[in-house]
Point group: C2
Chain length 135, copies 2
DNA sequence: TATAATCCTTCCCATCATGGGAAGGTCAAG
DNA sequence: CTTGACCTTCCCATGATGGGAAGGATTATA
């Protein structure tokens, strides 16, 4: 199968398949006499694994670690659990950060009249000016 | 004041100040005879505004729009409110997405023994295999 | 005053993951 | 045998930031 089919079956674009090969995440496939990459179901399976990991927010580097563990028959599941747990913690930190932003912005929007007057507490906040009215 | 002081007083690195100038977010400051950039308190005020907006997760482009509204005395606060509201919606979408990832990962981690046995439901999920045990 | 340390300047490169597109070779169907 | 769809490699762009080199300017110290 050519790279186009492999892309379609795995959900990973042909561009990205070549990129993953280039950075060593996947190994170089066989080539036809005319230099086309040839993939089989094993390779597509690997690509699907990568796609799923990326969808779950693992970085390419983390995905590589998970892939190595997946392909290592004698691996210990503890390592995988650690990677996943670390990733959960990182995601939760990010979520908390975004929630902090939302909270602040909602407060500002709530204070803002949103009419045609130039007075705007959102801009005042950005400019570092003290709030004039509590709520 | 030189760029170093302006950076210190605004919390924006000298590198980024030059970058913001380059992309037109801020205007080019005066230069000394020896080609040093010179900043005053007005410029620092602008940089603080930018810093605050970036901290709240606005993109540089959005920050530029807010900056223009801030500097436009006849602006309507409704425009600002719209930008902020859109940004809140985008943040909330992102948060929901991350929460979805966390939920899936927590489920997988919960199912994983985390011991030295090679059996690992997390990897099985990534590989697209059906789960064997409910919970 | 001479020299060293600290600043400033521009310029290039790297990140991370992805896409766009050009120039050119290959293959299959009509 | 032509046409269109595919493949190849190579370069460039994103967004926001940092690193670092090479060289000029200023400031502090010996």
């Amino acid at each position: 199968m050519n790279i186009g089919q492999a892309a379609e079956q795995s959900g990973v674009s042909a561009k990205m398949i070549r990129y993953y090969e280039q950075i060593g995440l996947i190994s170089a496939p066989h080539r036809t006499g005319s230099n086309y990459r040839v993939y089989g179901s094993d390779e597509v399976h690997v690509l699907r694994f990568i796609k799923r990991a990326r969808t779950l927010g693992f970085s390419v580097e983390e995905t590589g670690a998970l892939l190595a563990l997946w392909q290592d028959k004698s691996r210990a599941s503890g390592e995988v659990k650690d990677i996943a747990s670390d990733h959960i913690a990182a995601l939760e930190t990010k979520i908390a950060e975004l929630q902090g932003m939302v909270k602040t912005l909602k407060h500002l929007v709530h204070c803002c009249q949103g009419d045609n007057r130039p007075d705007c507490p959102i801009l005042d906040d950005l400019a570092g000016e003290p709030a004039h009215k509590g709520h």
